[in-house]
């Protein structure tokens, strides 16, 4: 993608991508609108030519003409509406997938948006932007309807036509003008209703916590109060919206009386035929529809523009890391070196990982740990200092090569819908495993997660639901660890991998971990003494700087602060 798209770019591309469908849709819907205009005209004609004259031939022709009119009306709508919908759905689909692809892009993105916001962009903003295509088509159709109604009215009677054509839009504007009063009230109402709805899900989400302390009564009372407030706001809004309803109804009725009065006057004085009288009155009522539709289009375009701006924010986002073109040979293990790295709270950090080493990092401030993991994961674009992976500066490495060399397993384990096996083998590419079943189970064993697999009759094929929510936190953490161990990445970075497991299990994991990573490089950011004790070397980071290095035993023996931090 070259250059920023902006909201305009997103909308223009949407229209361009589906231009032929849109043109076809607009033409057909215009025909449909013209046919809708023709219905009251047709009623007037049939009354005039057939009912009033008693001519059977005219009646027969009337029926045939009506049938033809309805057929045109329907088919034009059917094909036009389908073309429009297909364009809308396809555009929404393309936008949705594009957002997902951009968010998951290995270069990362610097939108500063949270996942929830990104999801809502992919779902709602894509949809709202797609609707602009329908608005486009409907606007064309409505204009055609207005023009054809105007032509008919003006041909019947110039002055009456002008009166209707000025009166209807005037009325529409007048009712639009008083609408803000109503929407302000209903805004307050929606806000109160939204708060009540959020409270309901919040309280039920924490229901187990409430129950633990017997606070259900208090919670129910709290909800009732919020519901009452929302109700009071709704009742207040009901008055204003009722008033609005009444005013618009009365205004429409009065306008119709005026048109009927004048048209009736002309008919009684012979200036109009009976059929023309019916047509004029019928059209005066009908014109309100395309006008309303145009108003709708205006609203949709405004909301589509806002949504397109949010989409553009994602599409135009700067990457976290562009990546280079070089590869790195990992066959004999590789070194990783941080030289004078500063990022967020980290200041001038030097760190060397040699092939086959197991290094523990103890960071007393969790922010230092987060920053270090972000640097190693390549998510720290504003970093200063050098990061060499296999002696290649990480900026020059191809992103795939970089990710093949260094694997970072997040602290907050993310599992995906599928099976246990599917999740465990996420890091296994192109059939690296000679004996899949056996090797998967060995990794599971190393992560002390055998009980998770054994708990279910289907074993490794046990289904995992969305985000692994069917598993407990401790189970998720251990499956994530097993996944990382199975991938056998040349360099593995683990971030507090045992916080959700109990002491006994942690001890088991610590025992098995180093054996599993023999010959490979491992960095564990942790404060667990069980894990630190197994490290070849422990690096202590305090206040953003590396302050000490040594083995766990050395540090524990020599250093009171270290003892303080790791003793439990």
């Amino acid at each position: 993608m070259s250059g920023a798209m902006g909201a305009r770019g997103v909308l223009v591309r949407a229209v361009r991508r589906h231009l032929s469908r849109l043109v076809a849709g607009a033409l057909l819907l215009s025909v449909h609108q013209a046919a809708e205009v023709a219905v009251p005209v047709a009623i007037g004609l049939v009354i005039d030519r057939a009912v009033a004259t008693g001519d059977r031939t005219a009646l027969a022709w009337s029926v045939v003409a009506l049938a033809a009119l309805f057929a045109v009306l329907f088919f034009a709508w059917q094909f036009g509406a389908r073309q429009t919908l297909v364009a809308l759905e396809r555009e929404t689909h393309l936008l949705r997938v594009a957002v997902a692809a951009r968010v998951l892009d290995p270069r990362g993105h610097r939108t500063g948006l949270r996942t929830g916001e990104l999801l809502s962009i992919a779902a709602f903003d894509a949809q709202r932007t797609g609707v602009v295509l329908r608005a486009f088509v409907v606007a064309v159709g409505s204009v055609v309807a207005l023009v054809s109604a105007a032509v008919i009215l003006l041909t019947i009677d110039l002055w009456l036509g002008i009166g209707v054509l000025v009166g209807v839009p005037g009325l529409a504007f007048a009712t639009q003008a008083i609408a803000p009063l109503m929407t302000r009230r209903s805004g307050a109402q929606q806000e109160a209703a939204g708060r009540t709805a959020a409270l309901a899900t919040d309280l039920v989400g924490g229901l187990r916590v409430l129950r633990g302390i017997g606070a259900q009564h208090a919670a129910a009372a709290r909800y009732r109060r919020s519901s009452e407030t929302a109700l009071a706001a709704s009742l207040r809004a009901a008055g204003t919206s009722g008033l609005y309803e009444g005013v618009t109804t009365a205004a429409g009725g009065l306008f119709l009386a005026a048109v009927a009065g004048f048209a009736g006057w002309f008919a009684l004085t012979g200036r109009l035929t009976v059929g023309e009288l019916i047509t004029v009155v019928g059209l005066a009522q009908f014109i309100a529809e395309p006008l309303r539709a145009l108003g709708w289009c205006g609203g949709q375009v405004a909301s589509a523009r806002a949504s397109a701006a949010r989409l553009a924010e994602v599409f135009d986002a700067d990457p976290d890391a562009a990546g280079g073109t070089r590869d790195v040979d990992t066959a004999d293990g590789i070194t990783v070196a941080l030289k004078g790295v500063s990022y967020r709270t980290l200041q001038d950090v030097d760190l060397d990982l040699r092939p086959g080493e197991l290094v523990g990092v103890l960071a007393s401030d969790p922010r230092d740990a987060d920053a270090l993991v972000a640097v190693l994961a390549g998510r720290a674009a504003e970093r200063t200092g050098d990061l060499l992976i296999g002696d290649v500066p990480d900026g020059e490495l191809h992103l795939d090569a970089r990710r093949r060399a260094v694997l970072v397993e997040q602290h907050d384990t993310a599992l995906f819908a599928g099976t246990l096996r599917g999740n465990l083998t996420a890091g296994v590419h192109n059939g690296q495993l000679a004996d899949p079943e056996e090797e998967v189970l060995r990794a599971v064993e190393a992560a002390a997660a055998r009980d998770v697999v054994d708990a279910h009759p289907s074993g490794l094929d046990h289904p995992v639901t969305d985000r692994g929510r069917s598993l407990s936190g401790g189970q998720r953490q251990r499956i994530g660890l097993a996944r990382a161990l199975l991938s056998a990445a040349p360099v593995l970075v683990l971030h507090e991998p045992t916080t959700a497991v109990d002491a006994v299990t942690e001890e088991r994991i610590a025992e098995r971990l180093s054996g599993r990573r023999t010959g490979l490089t491992t960095l564990i950011v942790t404060s667990s003494p069980a894990l630190l004790a197994r490290a070849d070397r422990v690096v202590v980071i305090e206040g953003g700087r590396v302050t000490r290095t040594g083995t766990h035993d050395e540090l524990r023996a020599a250093d009171e602060t270290y003892r303080q931090v790791v003793t439990r």
Partner: protein
């Protein structure tokens, strides 16, 4: 699906859904409670619809006058009638709309309050069986679907229905034969619906399912975005999203295809009715059906205009039929919760003699998805906790600690065995009374949205700010609370100030202090804060368990050191029991654990 305390996945049965009759009964009860407003709505809306019929009727009279070549004498009075009718319609429409909205909103508020009340007081046994997921979708999605229907669709439907009924009546009022002619469209509408509903219903269900899968796929991948990138899975995940999105899109287009054919059938019904009115009118005017009297051109005009007036409301009703069905389904799911029996409360529960907890012969297994019994997670455990005694429960993941804690708190009913509090069986005590005596802090953590003080105050609504502050102080949370932008009035929870896992835990413990029960069960698992944070939490837990009977699931062994007694569990059974010092001296399982926990001196890996 949600994991129970222990972690094992149990069956996912859902809460009941009310049948049509019981759903209607729920609505009827609420409407009867507001019967005067309901009657007013009926009268005003009928009157408004009737006033709306005046205009086409007057127009018919004008047509007659024009056809007869009458003078303009009648024009002014006729226009005046139209003007008056317009004003009356306006006033009635305003009242009608207001009354409908007020009635609908009031009924809605009562229903949602009742549903929430039942949901919050769901008996533990039911909650553990169904999980929170289904309940969340009821108080969330279903309430919002029903709310949307009541605030927007229902008033429109009421208005459309009245318009249809009265316009049809007006048609008959003009001339019964014209009325019958208009009625000829009814079978056509009926056929259209009969064609459409059975085709669209499964289609819509499929579409909703596909949309759900698409949303899930996106959520899953985006939430785990960093992991997706780390494991180089982006192509695989994007492909899955594309596939799901494509499937949902194809279904949406398919659904619309069916809908357009349905719309065609509606057009056909309109054509049939309009033509019938005009043709019958033709013969009536000619006097071919003179035996039963003739009608004027004006009457036929009015009839045709009446019928044309029906297009929109009938179309609306028929098209909204889906929406109505959906809202009906949502309401049925709400009624299912609203009609649940409340928790059983014994009349005069016996009073526990003290705060000692006795677990006798406890065995437990969860029910699996297929209804079969899972493996036994607690086996024949007998444990007595004296009043004021602090017992720590130690063991590996899956040893049954959390399950035993849930049973001791009376949240889980053991498959066999009895739990007594101060000599009284928890079953006899009832859930509400049990909760006044025993508090449970489980692994599930939740920060309730609102101010921090209100969050803590959930435990005791009457607590003053000073009491809340004191509770926070005792658990050692005051330093960080005071450092927050607005202190205890800082808004926390989803979408507001985020709290760390350790801070969340602090709040949970402060709530227990405020609730002030005689016994506490702590099953809080967090070492997220690192060792230093864990020590702070240990001290907080000590403050909470002080001078109370306490069972503490020790995820960190430091919690065991402070206990009066340590109980070690393995595969559901108690294997060791004694004080920290005794067990260390005994050199058994616990002693081995302790050595591992404090960090081995030499490398063993």
């Amino acid at each position: 699906m949600t994991a129970p305390v222990g972690g094992d996945v149990v069956a996912a049965p859902i809460l009941p859904v009310a049948d049509a009759r019981r759903t209607w009964l729920l609505l009827r009860d609420e409407l009867l409670a507001h019967r005067r407003s309901a009657a007013a709505v009926l009268v005003v809306m009928l009157a408004a619809s009737a006033a709306g019929l005046v205009a086409p009727w007057v127009l018919g009279l004008l047509v007659d006058d024009a056809g007869a070549g009458a003078g303009t004498d009648r024009l002014v009075p006729l226009v005046v009638v139209m003007v008056v009718a317009a004003l009356v319609t306006g006033v009635l429409a305003a009242f009608g709309a207001t009354l409908v909205a007020r009635l609908g909103e009031t009924v809605l508020a009562r229903v949602r309050e009742r549903v929430m009340d039942r949901a919050l007081h769901l008996p533990s046994a039911t909650l553990e069986r169904v999980g929170v997921g289904d309940l969340l979708s009821r108080v969330g999605d279903d309430v919002s679907v029903v709310t949307g229907a009541i605030t927007t669709t229902v008033p429109e439907i009421v208005r459309a229905s009245f318009t249809i009924v009265l316009t049809a009546a007006g048609l008959f009022g003009l001339d019964w034969r014209l009325g019958l002619a208009g009625l000829l469209s009814a079978p056509a509408y009926h056929l259209a619906l009969r064609w459409y509903l059975p085709r669209s219903k499964p289609f819509y269900a499929e579409e909703r399912l596909a949309v759900g899968e698409r949303t899930e796929a996106m959520a899953c991948s985006l939430w785990g975005g960093e992991t997706v990138r780390a494991y180089r899975l982006e192509h695989r995940h994007t492909a899955v999203i594309e596939e799901k999105s494509q499937a949902a899109m194809d279904l949406s287009i398919g659904v619309f295809r069916v809908f357009t054919w349905f719309a065609g059938r509606l057009n056909r019904a309109e054509f049939v009715g309009l033509t019938a009115v005009l043709v019958v009118g033709f013969f009536l005017v000619r006097g071919d059906l003179a035996a039963s009297g003739t009608v004027t051109v004006g009457t036929v005009t009015a009839a045709a205009l009446y019928f044309h007036r029906l297009f929109n409301p009938i179309g609306f009703l028929v098209i909204e039929v889906d929406q109505i069905q959906q809202a009906g389904a949502g309401l049925a799911r709400l009624a299912g919760v609203a009609n649940l029996p409340g928790a059983e409360t014994p009349e005069n529960p016996p009073v526990p003699a003290d705060s000692g907890i006795e677990l006798e012969g406890i065995s437990h297994h969860y029910e699996l998805q297929d209804g079969k019994a899972g493996s036994e997670v607690v086996r024949a455990v007998t444990l007595r906790i004296a009043p004021g005694e602090r017992v720590a429960l130690v063991g590996a993941s899956g040893a049954g600690k959390s399950t035993l804690a849930g049973i001791a708190a009376g949240i889980l009913r053991p498959t066999t065995g009895t739990v007594r509090l101060g000599g009284v069986d928890l079953d006899a005590l009832g859930e509400a009374a049990t909760r006044r005596h025993i508090a449970l802090v489980s692994q599930e953590a939740h920060v309730f949205a609102g101010t921090l003080a209100d969050d803590v105050r959930l435990a005791r609504e009457s607590a003053t700010d000073a009491e809340v502050t004191a509770a926070l102080d005792r658990v050692g949370a005051l330093p960080w609370v005071e450092a927050l932008p607005d202190g205890i009035t800082t808004v926390v929870g989803e979408g507001a100030h985020g709290l760390t896992a350790a801070q969340t835990q602090h709040l949970a413990l402060a709530r227990v202090l405020l609730a002030d029960p005689a016994a506490v069960i702590l099953d809080e698992a967090t070492a997220e804060a690192g060792s230093a944070g864990a020590r702070t939490l240990d001290r907080a837990a000590e403050a909470v368990t002080e001078s109370r009977t306490a069972l503490v699931v020790a995820h960190r062994l430091s919690q065991a050191v402070a206990a009066d007694r340590v109980v070690v569990m393995d595969r559901g059974a108690v294997v060791e029991s004694g004080s920290h010092a005794e067990l260390l001296a005994a050199g058994g399982a616990y002693a081995a654990l302790w050595r591992g926990w404090t960090g081995p001196i030499t490398h063993t890996g």
